[in-house]
């Protein structure tokens, strides 16, 4: 846990230079917003708004990867325990937060007005809410145009990817995370990934309900119930699991693995916003189209 | 022996009526009826497992009898409140607990709890009583010493001082000399001997000090006590002045051993020996 790279002296000077009238909901170039929530951070960056401060950037850069976080953004520590003092010193004029951080809202309000936008709520499909989040951010920051642009970009990309995957239409796909060599968790129809599958014209092989993200760990043997599905394994893959599964009789005997209907995707934030959806769609369609190329790699998870 | 139907004679400090204690099926103490007048030193003797400690614990309200009734000062034990009873009866268990850094004065001061309670002030009267008890136990030089750093005999006397500070008129002691060498045994027993029959102090109290003590050494018991109560197998075998108990047949009944008795060459008190 080292302080993020966003804390260099120069970055601070740069941040100080852009200091604008605090307190008001500033607009335009001098907008000083901060965010605790990662999905909102993605959305902000996707809209071309660079926040002055955001949480847990070290991990964000490895889990969400996109969009890149400019070095000027001040890291205010863990999402679960943001450093209010650092946040205060970053002097935001508006803080974005979500329902996950409802508990700390009173303290956030001591720093600046708080705008709570929640994408993930039980029973609500997250994609529409992610779009709504972008619209809402646009409304409060006066960047409605940027919000419209982001939504249009993502929609266009999904349409493009859907067209590219026309040959795969209706194909069952299973999106999962490996916990260890014996367990996975799966993303159901009510998750962001599940919705993207639908928008790409693919079928989510996992019929059961999940609680809008991922369900409890499931034994690997359950994969045998989906012999037709194309398996999408999201990174990170525990090194241990990759090693053990490579030698596993059961794993290698699964029809999906045997027929090489498996792709390992780079990390995407499962609780992300529109940029995460776009990233997932892009990686997924690339993987499906490269299916033939992957021949010979078999069940290799490395 | 006493007729159970007869009311306790006036002046009996303790009166036990058909008191028994059973553990599951096993009778630890068979029904026992007994009156003990005030102002004497009583010795409880008998072999291991004879029910001595059980009897003493019931008198101290540490154990409730399975049946029967114990009365102190003509009131059933259950009718006494905790502190009121503690102002009358002081009890010393067989094993002294560790006192975790307390010094002698602090330990002895705890004896005043029955008088001031949890909230009351520690008055000059309490102070004086604590000091008197320390003097009485011969611990004045050790007043500020940690109890845990004292020798066995000194520590025993510190606990005795605590009982004295309690200002009770009846002391119950469970083998107070078991861990002591002979010199220290004599020290403690001498204090008990002196106490017996003394005017029990304390405001509003009359009558003489009563001591009931469990002793393993029959000769020390005979030396110290006015009367002996001999138990075996949960029954009271004999009860009377020392010279009545100290007879070969009685001793044989109590201990199951052939024993002889002779007079102490100097004091003339009876002494027993194994044949």
């Amino acid at each position: 846990m080292r302080s993020g790279p966003g804390l260099s002296r120069r970055a601070l000077l740069a941040a100080a230079a852009t200091l604008a009238a605090p307190g008001a909901r500033a607009q335009g170039a001098a907008l000083r917003v901060a965010t605790i929530d990662w999905a909102l951070l993605e959305t902000l960056l996707g809209m071309g708004i660079t926040p002055v401060a955001a949480a847990e950037l070290v991990l964000f850069r490895t889990v969400a990867v996109e969009p890149p976080v400019p070095p000027s953004v001040i890291d205010i520590g863990l999402r679960g325990a943001p450093n209010f003092e650092a946040l205060r010193l970053a002097r935001p004029s508006l803080i974005f937060s979500s329902n996950y951080y409802a508990e700390m809202e009173p303290k956030l309000r001591l720093v600046a007005p708080v705008e709570t936008i929640s994408i993930y709520r039980t029973g609500d499909p997250p994609f529409a809410r992610a779009e709504a989040a972008a619209v809402r951010i646009g409304a409060v920051t006066g960047r409605e145009d940027a919000a419209r642009a982001l939504i249009a970009d993502v929609t266009a990309q999904l349409v493009r990817d859907r067209a590219n995957l026309a040959g795969h239409a209706g194909r069952p796909v299973l999106v999962l995370n490996l916990g260890d060599a014996r367990h996975f968790r799966v993303f159901g129809a009510d998750s962001l990934f599940g919705e993207v599958l639908g928008r790409l014209g693919l079928a989510n092989a996992w019929g059961e309900r999940t609680s809008y993200a991922a369900s409890a760990p499931i034994g690997l043997e359950a994969l045998a119930r989906f012999p037709e599905a194309f398996l999408i394994v999201l990174r990170p893959v525990p090194p241990d699991a990759a090693r053990v599964l490579g030698q596993s009789v059961l794993w290698n005997a699964l029809p999906n693995i045997r027929d090489r209907r498996l792709a390992v995707l780079d990390s995407v934030d499962p609780f992300g916003g529109l940029p995460a959806a776009a990233r997932f769609a892009r990686l997924l369609s690339a993987a499906l189209r490269a299916e033939g190329d992957a021949a010979g790699r078999g069940g290799d998870l490395g | 022996m006493v007729d159970p139907a007869r009311p306790a004679p006036a002046g009996a400090l303790w009166s036990l009526c058909e008191v028994a204690f059973t553990l599951g099926e096993r009778a630890i103490l068979s029904p026992l009826t007994l009156d003990l007048p005030a102002g004497r030193v009583y010795g409880l003797i008998g072999p291991n497992g004879s029910g001595k400690s059980t009897l003493l614990k019931m008198m101290a309200r540490q154990l409730a009898p399975s049946s029967g009734e114990l009365r102190f000062d003509d009131r059933p034990l259950g009718a006494w409140s905790g502190r009121a009873f503690a102002r009358e009866v002081a009890y010393m268990p067989q094993f002294m607990p560790a006192s975790d850094g307390m010094n002698v004065r602090e330990l002895v001061s705890l004896g005043r709890y029955p008088w001031h309670g949890a909230l009351g002030r520690f008055s000059p009267e309490d102070e004086a009583r604590v000091e008197a008890a320390i003097q009485r136990a011969g611990l004045a030089p050790f007043r500020e010493r940690a109890v845990d750093s004292l020798s066995g005999g000194e520590r025993q006397r510190a606990w005795l001082a605590l009982m004295l500070a309690q200002g009770a008129r009846c002391l119950l002691l469970d083998e107070p000399t078991s861990a002591l060498d002979i010199a220290h045994q004599m020290e403690v027993l001498a204090i008990l001997r002196e106490l017996g029959g003394e005017a029990a102090g304390g405001p509003g109290q009359a009558g003489a000090m009563t001591v009931i003590v469990i002793l393993h050494d029959i000769n020390l018991a005979a030396r110290t006590c006015d009367a002996l109560l001999a138990l075996r197998g949960g029954r009271l075998l004999a009860h009377g002045p020392c010279d009545e108990i100290m007879e070969p047949e009685r001793l044989r009944a109590i201990y199951g051993l052939d024993m002889g008795v002779m007079a102490h060459p100097v004091s003339g008190t009876p002494m027993s020996y194994v044949l």
Binding site: M1, S3, L7, I74, G77, L78, G80, A81, P82, N83, F84, E85, N99, E103, M104, P106, L110, S118, Y120, R121, N177, G179, D180, H183, E208, R209, A214, A216, P217, G219, L220, E221, E228, P236, P239, D240, R243, L245, Q247, S248, V249, L250, A253, L254, P255 | A60, G82, Y91, P93, P97, A98, S99, D100, E106, L110, P114, A118, A146, S149, Q166
Partner: protein, 662 residues
């Protein structure tokens, strides 16, 4: 000493019970097989075969072998420590092994690839060494050993939680593993545990004679020519190895090692030979049956509750059931601490301590880091930051004070120097309350969480008091009730963690303990609670002087023993519950405060409690400040930092006493 006195169940034909259990296990397993979903597609028959041979059968084998290994490990530990409640969970071995694996996963993944088992073993050995070092001075007395083990388990759990929070990646596997899931996809774990079990059983067979001697106390065994210490260490190492191999393969599976020997004894096994044979058998059947039940209740979306957590839920009730059968070590061991240092003027010393705590608070308020480096906050900057710093400072001081005082009361009440407020079960209750709130409500407010944790804590408290009253309020019983409740609470928490979801993270944050969410209102409320709860101590000081002398002496002085113990327990539990919400279930402040107070020479009950409270406040203030400063702007968990700073010192303190008096 450690032999259980059971009401003569010996004639119950243990063989028949064993056969009945075996039959039940077979029946359940047959049901599991019958309930397998039928697969579709051309590969279905081959796949069904594969599933049977590479998933279902190895899973059953792993359950049997792991259960047997844990049963053997527990039987060995109980025998060698002469402690009927020793097992890999209560001695902290499982938690230590888990922490070692977590650390390796976070910082040295290569180590895991090299030897998972070795890593787990190292963690388990370190844990058991610490537990034994802590309980050395009390002659490895059963309750003390378990109290030390539980404290260590909690500490290891908090450290794992903090690591997971900080690292984020691979979290998922840690959750699974903390709750002990038995899913298999090859024979490797079964083979590994099986070979260890075979080696362990052979070694145990060779050690049968010496184990017989271990029933006697050390002096007697030594006089019969046994090399007691060496033998004991060897057997402990063997038991740890068995447990560690299970933890490294399938994760934490609680209390099989406790239950199996207990059931074996209940079935009439007396001699070490019979116990060592029966315990692994019973352990194997227990885990197999539980795992079959877990599989039968599983939905398509995964197990309702992981097997390890399911067995762990048994731990609490089992300990409670064993309670009345535990021998109460009759004469309390002299607690002479060696240092007879006493303060002449405890009043003046208290004022000094208070001044020190205030100084610490001032430092925490003024000194700190900002975005550019170290700075002393003054003027406008201070005015700006005070809104964030003051609530934390107030909360840390109040929580530290409460924990210190609660620890002091607990120590006086139980006469056990290891009895911290954490083992009262109240904090675990608060955690379960939090878990319920987080499971039911996706975005709970601070007020709801506070209410839920208070509800949980009070519920746990009511249970502890009820059970303690039922078992007669002996100090050791009280401790064990708390531990039993704590075990159940932790098993519930690990099941919640295994289910994943965003609530887990909030729960983890609580586990690792942090003051950063405390708002101004809550801080002052906490301060008010502290005052209200600490004031009665001024009045109840005399009980705190007398009760440590034991029930006998207390009663004969006219102290209402039951009532006073009830009131003091209630007070300590309320203090703990209130503080636990803010700084998590563990900070060791409740142990450190009283020990430092004793070391400084505070003797009288009242001064001892207040000194412990002041020291506790100072320690937690320092820990909170360090937590804010060390990794700025990232914040470390306050409770964990206090444990990390204070823990080693505490162990050194306890152990030093051991060397002098052991």
């Amino acid at each position: 000493m450690a032999e259980l006195t059971l009401p003569r169940p010996a004639r119950r034909r243990p063989l028949h019970i064993g056969l009945a259990l075996g039959l039940l296990g077979t029946l359940l397993f047959a049901l599991v097989l019958a309930r397998q979903p039928t697969l579709a597609g051309p590969d279905a028959p081959a796949l069904q075969q594969l599933l049977l041979w590479h998933s279902l059968l190895p899973r059953a084998a792993t359950a049997l072998l792991a259960g047997a290994a844990l049963g053997l490990s527990g039987a060995l530990l109980q025998r060698v420590l002469r402690n009927p409640i020793a097992d890999p969970s209560t001695l902290g071995i499982a938690a230590g092994a888990q922490l070692a694996l977590t650390l390796a996963m976070a910082f040295a993944p290569a180590l895991l690839a090299f030897s998972r088992e070795g890593t787990a073993f190292a963690g388990g050995i370190v844990a058991v060494a610490l537990v034994l070092a802590m309980s050395w001075r009390r002659g490895f007395e059963p309750v003390t050993v378990v109290v030390a083990g539980m404290t260590l388990s909690l500490m290891a759990g908090a450290m794992s939680a903090a690591l997971i929070l900080a690292r984020g990646d691979y979290v998922f596997s840690l959750f699974i593993w903390g709750a002990g899931a038995l899913h298999q996809q090859n024979w490797q774990p079964a083979l590994l545990v099986g070979t260890r079990l075979a080696l362990g059983a052979a070694a145990a067979l060779l050690l049968l004679r010496p184990l017989d001697l271990m029933t006697l106390d050390d002096a007697a065994a030594r006089s019969l020519g046994a090399a007691v210490q060496g033998m004991r260490l060897g057997i402990i190492a063997l038991a740890v190895w068995l447990a560690a191999s299970v933890v490294s393969q399938v994760g934490v599976i609680g209390f099989v090692g406790l239950a199996a020997p207990a059931f074996a004894r209940l079935g009439g096994a007396r001699r070490p030979g019979a116990l060592l044979l029966a315990s692994p058998l019973i352990g194997a059947l227990m885990l197999w049956i539980t795992d079959s039940l877990v599989q039968l209740t599983a939905s398509d979306g995964g197990d309702l509750i992981p097997t390890g957590a399911a067995v762990g839920l048994l731990g609490g009730p089992l300990l409670l059931w064993l309670l009345p059968r535990l021998p109460v070590s009759a004469p309390r061991q002299p607690m002479a601490t060696g240092h007879t240092r006493r303060l002449r003027r405890p009043g003046r010393a208290l004022v000094l301590l208070a001044a020190g705590a205030l100084l610490m608070a001032a430092l925490a308020l003024l000194a700190g880091r900002d975005l550019e480096g170290w700075a002393l906050a003054t003027g406008p900057l201070l005015a700006e930051l005070a809104a964030f710093r003051i609530p934390r400072i107030v909360a840390a001081a109040a929580a530290g004070g409460l924990l210190g005082a609660a620890g002091a009361i607990m120590q006086r009440l139980t006469g056990n120097p290891l009895a911290g407020p954490e083992v009262l079960g109240v904090s675990a209750g608060a955690g379960v309350g939090l878990a319920i709130a987080l499971t039911l409500s996706p975005a709970p407010s601070a007020a709801l969480l506070l209410a839920a944790s208070a509800g949980g804590a009070l519920g746990a408290l009511a249970l502890v008091l009820l059970m303690a009253a039922w078992t007669g309020f002996a100090a050791e019983r009280l401790l064990l009730c708390g531990i039993a409740l704590g075990c159940t609470g932790l098993a519930i928490l690990s099941a919640v963690f295994a289910a994943g979801g965003p609530g887990s993270f909030r729960l983890l944050a609580w586990m690792s303990g942090s003051t950063d969410k405390v708002g101004a209102n809550e801080a002052w409320m906490l301060a008010a609670c502290a005052l209200v709860l600490l004031l009665p101590v001024a009045v109840l000081g005399r009980w705190l002087d007398i009760l440590p002398l034991g029930a006998g002496v207390s009663a004969s002085l006219g102290v209402p023993v039951g009532a006073s113990q009830l009131i003091l327990t209630l007070l300590a539990a309320l203090m703990t519950g209130v503080a636990a919400f803010f700084v998590g279930p563990l900070s060791l402040v409740g142990l450190i405060g009283p020990h430092l107070a004793r070391l400084s020479g505070f003797v009288s009950g009242r001064a001892f409690v207040f000194a412990s409270a002041l020291i506790g406040a100072g320690v937690l203030l320092l820990a909170d400040w360090l937590a804010r400063m060390l990794a700025f702007p990232y914040q470390l968990p306050t409770g964990l930092l206090a444990a990390l700073v204070g823990g080693p010192y505490l162990i050194w303190l306890l152990q030093r006493g051991g060397r002098r008096h052991g």
